[in-house]
Symmetry: C2
Subunit: 400 residues, 2 copies
C-alpha cells in the first residue's frame, strides 16, 4: 500500500466493476415511432375535446408521422432503446401509468412522474446491491431525470443499516456529461485523507439511474422535441472508483487526466429545466457544430495532460457521448478516426439510444469487455451537455 499521494504524478484512481441493468422493456425504433404517432395524435384529440375545438385526426396523424420521419432518429442509427415503463409498449391509454392521454394530454404532472421515478430508482439500487455483503464507503448517485429525497441510495443505506459505513452523495441535474464530474468527485473521495472519509476500506460506488423517457410531453410537436423523443432512453449502470490499494487486482480503467470547458456564448444552445409536467429539454440545431468547433484543441490539451505519445493517441479508442448520430459523424470526421476507433460509441447508440449520463459508462463497460480493446489501450472520452459544457477524460485499460 502506498503511503502518500504525490501531486503532479499519474493518478492512482481506478474504475472497476462496470455493471449495467437492462430496463424492463426493449423497443425497436419502429415501435417508438408508431407509439409517438399515436401518442401525439391522442394528446391533440383530448386537448381539442377539452377546448371544444375541431380536430382532424387523420390529417394530424399524417402530419406528425411526416415530422417523425423527417426529424426523428432513424432506425439505422438507433435500432432499439430500453424503457422501464410499460406505457411506451402499448396504446391502451386507460392502462397507462403516466400517459393517460385520453384524460391528460400532456401526461401526468411532475409529482406523479417523481413518485414513479422514486420507485424505479429504489428498485434499481436493490437489484444492484442484492448480492452485496460489503457496504461501499460512498454511494454517489448520478441522475438528471429524478430528484426525490430520501433518494434511492439513502433508502438502500437505511434498509441495510449501512449508515455508519456508507456516505451518500447526490450529483444531480448535470446532464449527459455527468459521468466525468462524477469521476472527479469519486476520485476525491477515494483519495481523501483519513479523517475526511468513512472508516474502513474505501470503495466509491457510482450509480446512474436515468429515466429519460419518463419526461415525454406528447403535446409538444416541435422538430427539436421530435429529435429528443426519438433519441433518449432509460439506462442504469454502476461502477466502483478506488485507489491503487483498494483495487485488488481487478480489471480496471486507470484515470490519467481530466479536462473541462464551458464554450462561450452557447448558454442558449441546450437547456434542461424542471417544468410543471416534468423535465424539459431544449436543444438548438447548432449544437453539433458548436461542439466540433472547439473539440480538436480540447482533445489536444487533454492528451497533453495525460502525457500521451503520438502513437498512443493514434491507436486510442474514443468513447464519445453519442448525443446523436450527427455528433458521432462530426467527431469522427474532425478527429479523422477509423471506424473501429469509435465503434463502441456507435454500438451503444444503436442498441440503447442516448441514456444521458448513463451512456458513456456503457461505452466504457463494452470496451472493458471487448478483447479487441487490448490491455494497456488508451481510451479518450468526451461528453457534453448544458453550458455548453465539454468534458473529457483519458484512461488506460488495465486488465490486472
Amino acid at each position: 500500500m502506498s503511503g502518500a499521494i504525490h501531486r503532479d504524478m499519474p493518478t492512482q484512481t481506478f474504475i472497476t466493476h462496470l455493471r449495467a441493468l437492462n430496463p424492463a422493456h426493449t423497443m425497436t425504433q419502429a415501435q417508438t415511432v408508431f407509439w409517438l404517432v399515436e401518442g401525439h395524435t391522442r394528446a391533440e384529440m383530448t386537448l381539442a375535446k377539452r377546448n371544444g375545438t375541431h380536430f382532424d385526426e387523420e390529417q394530424f396523424r399524417v402530419r406528425i408521422a411526416h415530422a417523425l420521419a423527417r426529424f426523428g432518429c432513424s432506425a439505422d442509427k438507433i435500432a432499439t432503446r430500453g424503457v422501464e415503463l410499460a406505457d411506451g409498449t402499448h396504446t391502451i391509454w386507460s392502462d397507462m401509468q403516466i400517459f393517460r392521454l385520453h384524460e391528460k394530454p400532456e401526461g401526468e404532472g411532475m409529482s406523479s412522474r417523481m413518485r414513479l421515478y422514486s420507485e424505479v430508482a429504489a428498485g434499481v439500487f436493490e437489484r444492484f446491491y442484492a448480492e452485496e455483503e460489503e457496504p461501499p464507503s460512498d454511494l454517489l448517485h448520478v441522475t438528471c431525470t429524478g430528484y426525490v429525497s430520501p433518494s434511492a441510495p439513502q433508502r438502500l443505506v437505511s434498509t441495510r443499516g449501512w449508515g455508519r459505513h456508507t456516505r451518500v452523495t447526490q450529483a444531480y441535474h448535470m446532464g449527459c456529461y455527468a459521468s466525468l464530474p462524477a469521476l472527479r468527485i469519486a476520485g476525491g473521495f477515494a483519495s481523501a485523507p483519513g479523517a475526511l472519509r468513512p472508516v474502513g476500506p474505501r470503495r466509491v460506488d457510482v450509480v446512474h439511474t436515468e429515466l429519460c423517457t419518463l419526461h415525454l410531453n406528447p403535446l409538444i410537436h416541435t422538430p427539436e422535441q421530435i429529435v429528443v423523443q426519438t433519441l433518449f432512453a432509460d439506462g442504469f449502470i454502476a461502477y466502483s472508483v478506488c485507489d491503487a490499494s483498494a483495487r485488488g487486482g481487478e480489471p480496471a480503467l486507470q484515470l490519467l487526466a481530466l479536462a473541462e470547458d464551458v464554450i462561450p456564448d452557447s448558454s442558449e444552445s441546450m437547456r434542461w429545466i424542471c417544468s410543471d409536467w416534468g423535465m424539459q429539454m431544449t436543444l438548438s440545431r447548432d449544437v453539433p457544430e458548436r461542439l466540433t468547433a472547439v473539440l480538436s484543441p480540447f482533445i489536444d490539451q487533454l492528451c497533453d495532460r495525460a502525457n500521451l505519445t503520438s502513437a498512443e493517441r493514434a491507436e486510442a479508442q474514443f468513447a464519445i457521448h453519442p448525443g446523436g448520430p450527427k455528433i458521432l459523424d462530426g467527431v469522427q470526421a474532425l478527429l479523422d478516426l477509423r471506424d473501429e476507433q469509435i465503434k463502441h460509441s456507435r454500438d451503444v447508440l444503436l442498441s440503447r439510444g442516448n441514456m444521458s449520463s448513463a451512456t458513456l459508462p456503457h461505452v466504457w463497460m463494452n470496451m472493458m469487455a471487448d478483447e479487441n480493446v487490448a490491455d494497456g489501450q488508451i481510451i479518450i472520452s468526451a461528453a457534453f451537455g448544458p453550458g455548453l459544457t465539454l468534458c473529457g477524460a483519458v484512461m488506460r485499460k488495465s486488465m490486472a
Copy 2:
C-alpha cells in the same frame, strides 16, 4: 509548499473568505404571519369560486390565524427572515410574480418558479463575482431549491470566458445538510493530483443559492406546512476551499474531521420532492427526537476522529443547523451546552430563519467574525436532512 498528502494525518483543507449577500427584503415574523393569513385565505377563496362552493372568508381567516399562532415559529425564535421576491412584502395579488392567488390558488407552477429561480441565482453569482479578477479553479453550486441548466455558475463562467480555468459542479437536492457533503467534494478537488484538476492555482469556490420561500403553496394548511412556511427563508453565501499551499495566510477554518450517518427506519420522517407546483417538503413531528436519539454517540465518534482533547471539546463552539427551535433546544440539553456554545446557531435562526443548506455557512461566517471565538477554537458542526441523514464536521478557527 508541501509536496505530498499523507493519509491518516490532519487534513490540510481550509475554508476561507466566507461572504454572504442579503436577499432583497427583510420580513419580520409578524409580517410573515400576516401575509400567510391573507395568502391562505385568498387561495381558498379563489378555489371556492372556481369550484362554485360556499366560502366563509372570516371563519377561515380566524381558523388559519389560529393555526399559525399554534404551529408557526414564534417571533422570539425567528425575528426576521430574508426573502428575495417582493411577493411576500405586500398583498396586492395582481402585482405578484408567483403568488397571483386571485387567479392561481396554489401560485404559479414549477416552470415559472424555475424561471424566476434562474434569474435570481444568475444575479447572485454576478454580484458575488462582480469584483473578482481571478477565476476560481472550481465553482461548486449547492442548492435544493432550483434546478436549471445552464446553471448560474455555468452562465457566469460563460460570460466571463473562464471556461478553460473554472470547472462547474452542481451539488443539488441534498437539503439542509448539503454544506458538509460540499466540503468533502470541494476538499477532494482542492487536493486532487495534477492531471485531474484545472491548470493554475487551486481555489474551489462553494456558492449556496437557496430560495426556499419560492416553494410556498398557500393551499396546504396542515400543521407541518405551517411550520415549514414560517421557518424557511432565502439565503446566499459563498466561501473558498483550498489546501495549505493556496491559503495564503487568510483567516480560515481548518477542516479536521467529517462524519455522516443515515438513521435507520427514518426514511419517511422528512421528504423533499419535485412536484407540479414547486418543491414540496414533508416533515414528521418525530424529527427532533429521532435526531437527538443518535446525536450523542455521533458527536463522540466525530470528536475521536479529530483527536480532540476533552478540554478542546468542553470549550468547543457548536454550529448546529437550526432546523427549528426544538432542534436547538434538544441538542443543547442533550450535549449539556452552555448558552454561549450554541449562541451563533440561535442568532442565525433568529435573524435569518432556516435558509436550508446556506444556514450552517452563515453560522461559520459569524464565528469567524466574532472575536469571542478565539484563534485556535474548535468548532463542531452538525446538520441533518432527508434520509434522515446526519452530517458532522470538526474545524479549528485559524486566524493566520
